[in-house]
Amino acid sequence: MSLLIPHDIPQAITKHISKPMTEEAVLNLNHVSIKYSDKTAVNDVSFVIAKHKVTSIIGPSGCGKSTLLRSLNRMNDFIPGVSIDGEITFNNQDLYSKGVDAVEVRRRIGMVFQKPNPFPKSIYKNIAWGPSINGFDGSMEELVERSLKQAALWNEVKDRLHESALSLSGGQQQRLCIARALAMEPDILLMDEPCSALDPISTAHIEDLIFELKSRYTIVIVTHNMHQAARISDYTAFMEMGELIEFDVTNEIFTRPKQKRTEEYVTGRFG
């Protein structure tokens, strides 16, 4: 574990963060700007993602938080007209430099989407497909079981692994999508409002799950539910209109925000 010494942390953060981060940084965002054609969606954002911690990105709709999240595993590549400036380094390698294969990036940085999107295939195949196309050569049955257990879904589906994934409930489908991502044993798991399409009970399930997973995975979660961010995350980034307003330890953001805008948002006075 390497301590983050000040020059590792972008200037914008050291100004605000309340205490020095002691964790190893896996992702380093350095003056990141993202444009859709001419429209700027994310403007000069810098912060770090700490290893084996949950970092949440909050902010009002349209503030660029999902765009920023998708840039972390190059899912924005599929949207025509997107351009990115600045640097996102993962293990000291810029994700957007020439030699980097986006397919490899996505294999190591997994993603869970807003709406559960299982493949219209069996539960088993949903898990097994990713590993099989990426040349997994261990025991697939064990991997499927392990992934489903990690996603706290095993007990509910162990007797119906070969039934269609679409027969599951919305919350179960989302946990299946998490299991599917975990089967790739990613270094980082990105979650784009994973609970917004779910009922409160399913949401609680997923939140418990995120809590369990952070001992082994680094998680970045976008949410517009502030209470969720407060409950599950260690660090919080607050964004507004494409800019990072404040990044700090979650507790600080919600109890002693340094910026007025952050305070207004987290106390519910706007947004």
Partner: protein, 296 residues
């Protein structure tokens, strides 16, 4: 009725009645038009079967054409059509589906792509006789394939390729983006995503397009006449290089004769053609049902 009185819409009751009447009128009009089409088809079928049914027997199906109506049959035409349609399917389906997959999934959305797309849509509207002329110039003469099954199948494939491509593209487009994103996020390439998820999910739509296209090919006469498919064939094609005839040509030939009996024979031929079409559609529906059930 008058619960809305005193509101900002005092005449709402009257207006509502008017709107209901209009809606009713329109739906009646629509159902009338629908039934008109069905009725016309019914009359046509009735006429054809009343003329043709008495000629439909084993002898009709197993005899070659003849000068004498009671000896004449459609064996060579039926076999020719089956040959032709199998070869067309063999040529056109892989090319058409691969083209659609390339344009939708694998190539970027460049200007070239749009140009190709525009051209394909235009080609779908070109009259079939024009394809016949191309077939004659390129396949029959240019490649010296003569009046063979291959020349006919290649010409027919050209004719239906735009239809297959357009239908397949639509089917591929209708696959939700979220499925592709799910695959990409697991570290899949475009090809792996297309092969394992997009294609299976668009299977039934592609199949519908393919069957529509093949049905069109089975009924086309003009291009076959143009490339010189024979009207009197007293042998069965044994290979793709043999000359052939097909059901619509045989029907066309019989209709153009003066004798009443041959007209009735033509009606018999139409029934056989319809039966072949119906069989193809049934097969398609069965396959579709099976694949759809797999994905539910």
């Amino acid at each position: 009725m008058n619960i809305l009185n005193g509101s900002a819409y005092p005449n709402n009751g009257v207006h509502l009645n008017k709107r209901h009447r209009k809606a009713k009128l329109f739906s009646m009009l629509c159902s009338l038009v629908t039934w008109l089409g069905v009725a016309l088809l019914g009359v046509l079928l009735y006429q054809v079967s009343s003329d043709g049914f008495k000629w439909l027997d084993l002898q009709f199906l197993t005899s070659f054409p003849s000068r004498f109506p009671y000896k004449a049959g459609i064996k060579s035409a039926l076999v020719g059509t089956l040959w032709l349609i199998s070869m067309v399917a063999f040529i056109a389906i892989p090319i058409g589906v691969a083209t659609a997959l390339y344009l939708e999934e694998l190539s970027g959305q460049g200007r070239m792509n749009r140009l190709i797309e525009l051209n394909i849509s235009n080609l779908a509207g070109v009259p079939s006789i024009v394809y016949g002329i191309i077939g004659l110039a390129v396949f029959v003469r240019g490649l010296a394939l003569e009046r063979s099954l291959v020349a006919g199948a290649l010409t027919m494939s050209l004719l239906i390729l735009p239809v297959i491509i357009i239908a397949s593209r639509e089917a591929i487009k209708s696959v939700p983006m979220s499925i592709r994103h799910a695959a990409f996020a697991l570290g899949a390439t475009r090809l792996q995503t297309a092969r394992d998820h997009v294609l299976p999910a668009s299977y039934s739509g592609i199949l519908t397009g393919v069957i529509l296209a093949l049905s069109r090919a089975i009924g086309e006469t003009a291009p076959l006449i143009m490339i010189g498919a024979l009207t009197y064939v007293a042998f069965l094609p044994e290979g793709p290089m043999d000359s052939f005839t097909a059901l619509p040509i045989q029907i066309y030939n019989w209709v153009s004769r003066p004798q009443q009996e041959f007209h009735q024979l033509a009606a018999g031929g139409i029934i056989v053609l319809l039966a072949v079409l119906l069989m193809m559609n049934t097969i398609a529906i069965v396959i579709r049902y099976k694949t759809e059930r797999k994905y539910k």
